[in-house]
């Protein structure tokens, strides 16, 4: 399933210098205007049929990347191409058919389903909205979709509150599938679920990908999960992608000091190994996205920081085939 990433295969999604800033008011009385640099000059592509994992600590801009890519946020600058068509700035009418082909699944299956709508109707809504089925077909399709996500088709007449978190996430997945998408942004789809349920959903997403040739942008903060599900992985820090590579390279040979620090912070479920490992934990907190550090945004916490790091933004470059990194020391 893993794609070659050196440009031979065709990307389904291409993101060029994508930037999203939010205007906010800060200070005790909201007297000061400020800019949140949620996403800054981010470029990557997603190959047809692959899973690109997107990891990073909370607030680093993962969701913003997903939402801006889907044009659910208007980008501040930069371009997004979907299947060769530039979608940035596309008029609504031309966007609509593309929108069906790009779906999103969120972390919180509770807030995304309307409590007063049966799950059958929740799944059926995109069918008539996008004119994908009519009449008797709608019910048949709903039953099929429920079956696809491992739910009993008889559940169609029940309401969201009658389901567990994991089951609700299955409903959300069925609703996204109803659109017959090619690309799905999975924004922390398992973070709110219990460990034993997380594995069920991961397996389901993998099965569906195979069956329907789906392409995923899989957002998560759990590195082990991302390693398991992704073909390639991109690491974000404070609004920027700092490293991207096929997962084997990224996990076995991380080049960026932040990726390295992140990997060292993850506890492993093996007591003997844990007792032996060096506990050099990275110091300090993630700085504010309102006034991000100059130069390399990681420089205040970076053990390798040197002369250019605090004033020169490191270039985003491909250091080996398919292995991208932004660091002066690499």
């Amino acid at each position: 399933m893993s794609q070659s990433v050196n440009g031979n295969s065709e990307p389904l999604v291409r993101v060029e210098n994508l930037t999203k800033h939010f205007s906010v008011r800060i200070g005790a009385y909201g007297e000061t205007k400020a800019t949140v640099h949620a996403l800054d000059d981010v470029s990557f592509d997603v190959q047809r049929g692959e899973t690109l994992g997107l990891v990073g600590e909370s607030g680093c801009g993962k969701s913003t990347a997903g939402l801006t890519l889907l044009q659910l946020h208007r980008p501040t600058s930069g371009k997004v191409f979907f299947d060769e068509t530039e979608v940035t700035g596309l008029p609504d009418k031309e966007m609509r058919p593309l929108r069906r082909r790009m779906q999103i699944i969120f972390q919180d299956p509770y807030s995304t389903l309307s409590p007063r709508m049966t799950i059958g109707n929740a799944i059926g809504e995109p069918l008539w909205l996008h004119e994908l089925a009519s009449g008797q077909e709608v019910q048949e399709r709903i039953a099929e979709l429920l079956d696809d996500v491992g739910l009993n088709p008889a559940f169609a007449f029940r309401y969201p509150h009658e389901f567990s978190g994991g089951q609700r996430q299955r409903v959300c997945i069925a609703r996204a599938l109803a659109c017959e998408p090619e690309f799905i942004v999975c924004d922390e789809p398992i973070s709110a679920l219990d460990v034993s349920i997380q594995a069920q959903i991961i397996n389901l997403l993998q099965d569906l990908q195979e069956e329907y040739h789906l392409t995923y942008l899989f957002i998560a903060h759990d590195l082990a999960v991302v390693r398991h599900i992704s073909d390639r992985v991109a690491v974000m820090y404070l609004g920027r992608v700092v490293e991207m590579a096929p997962k084997e390279k990224l996990f076995d040979n991380p080049l960026h000091p932040y990726t390295n620090a992140l990997l060292l912070s993850v506890p492993v479920p093996n007591p003997r190994q844990e007792r032996q490992r060096q506990h050099t934990v990275i110091q300090g907190n993630v700085p504010s996205a309102i006034s991000p550090p100059s130069g390399c945004r990681f420089h205040p916490r970076c053990p390798l920081a040197f002369e250019p790091c605090d004033h020169e933004v490191p270039e985003w470059r491909e250091v080996e085939s398919g292995h991208w990194v932004a660091c002066h020391a690499v």
């Binding site: 219990d194 034993s196 912070s265 993850v266």
Partner: protein, 339 residues
């Protein structure tokens, strides 16, 4: 080693409209001086209610129906309110998942930190503030004296958790109960907090009860582990034995469901089918039977007790299961659940 805390047959339930939620169903365990005991299990399995029962910090709908909580021999379930206040924050320190709920947003950090020192240690306000500043530095917050005048919202999540740790350790408790202290934190901050607690523990000798749903965190911090399911302890073991030789089907399932940072990635995760039982309607036989690949007829008629496992490498390895899973091949849906 001597036993510090001895919990016997603890049972706690909540009154709800239709009946009761059976949150804790006869939980017994011991905590020795200086040891770190991890309590793991999925959300809703009764970890927090168990710990809140120990110090009787339960909401009004809850009642403790049975049990003893012996702290160096005194039953915390029998002592009066005044003695209980001495225990809380004195002999037993506590940290919770969300420090914002335990810190008052309108009172500065210094005042909040001084309170237990004045109450439990009889310090003057001035002494207490000086000690608080020291404690902040000890948990890695530089410039402690200046920061005492700040309010909780001026601290990041990780720093608030450091403040909570400083407060909970300020009266040199014998036991520190940490309820998912790193769950809301990012992984780099989680690593900092885990290291901090280990360092303070090693320095002070405090015994720690570390509650978490994350088995990986357990590997690095615990001496012994308790696994809870549906308000029961289903397995208890020294940390190495639990990871290398798990005996309860639920523990085995949890471990199989964890993706790893090393090794093969092409394999499917093993899963535990279904979801946890409704605690308002628990069966009087094995609560795991609906999800268990090993279940036999007996599992649907009798509830297994927590008993020493066969051929254990350690006497303290116990499980509540009718089946010796080493003797059974189960159909697994991926990378061998029974290996």
């Amino acid at each position: 080693m001597s036993v510090l805390l001895d919990v016997q047959e603890l049972q706690t339930r909540f009154q709800v409209r239709k009946g009761y939620v059976y949150a804790v169903n006869g939980v017994s365990f011991k905590l020795e001086e200086g040891e770190t005991l991890a309590v793991v299990g999925e959300s809703g399995c009764g970890k927090s209610v168990t710990m809140l029962s120990l110090v009787r910090l339960l909401p009004p709908a809850a009642s403790i129906e049975n049990g003893k909580v012996l702290l160096r021999g005194d039953d915390l379930l029998q002592i009066d309110q005044r003695q209980l206040r001495d225990v809380r924050g004195g002999q037993i320190g506590m940290i919770f998942q969300d420090p914002m709920t335990s810190l008052n947003p309108f009172i500065n950090i210094g005042t909040q930190m001084s309170e237990p020192l004045i109450y439990h240690r009889g310090m003057s306000k001035k002494e207490a503030l000086a000690r608080s500043a020291e404690l902040l530095e000890m948990v890695g917050i530089p410039d402690g004296e200046a920061r005492l005048r700040e309010y909780p919202h001026q601290f990041s999540g990780g720093m608030r958790q450091r403040v909570m740790i400083a407060m909970s350790m300020s009266c040199e408790p014998a036991v520190l109960i940490a309820d998912e202290p790193t769950t809301a934190l990012d992984v780099t901050i989680q690593a900092q907090i885990v290291e901090l607690v280990k360092e303070l523990r090693d320095r002070s000798g405090v015994a720690v009860i570390w509650i978490t749903h994350d088995l990986s965190v357990v590997a690095g911090i615990a001496d012994r582990v308790i696994v809870m399911y549906a308000g029961y302890i289903v397995e208890e073991a020294p940390v190495d034995a639990l990871f290398e030789d798990p005996r309860h089907p639920y523990t085995v399932g949890l471990m199989g469901a964890l993706p790893s940072l090393e090794g093969e990635t092409g394999t499917r995760l093993t899963t535990i089918g279904g979801s946890p039982p409704d605690l308002e309607d628990l069966p009087d036989f094995c609560p795991f039977h609906t999800r268990c690949p090993y279940s036999i007829d007996r599992c649907r008629t009798e509830n297994p007790m927590l008993e020493p496992v066969a051929d254990a490498s350690d006497r303290g390895h116990r499980a509540a299961c009718w089946v010796d899973i080493r003797e059974v091949e189960v159909q697994s849906n991926g990378a061998g659940a029974s290996s």
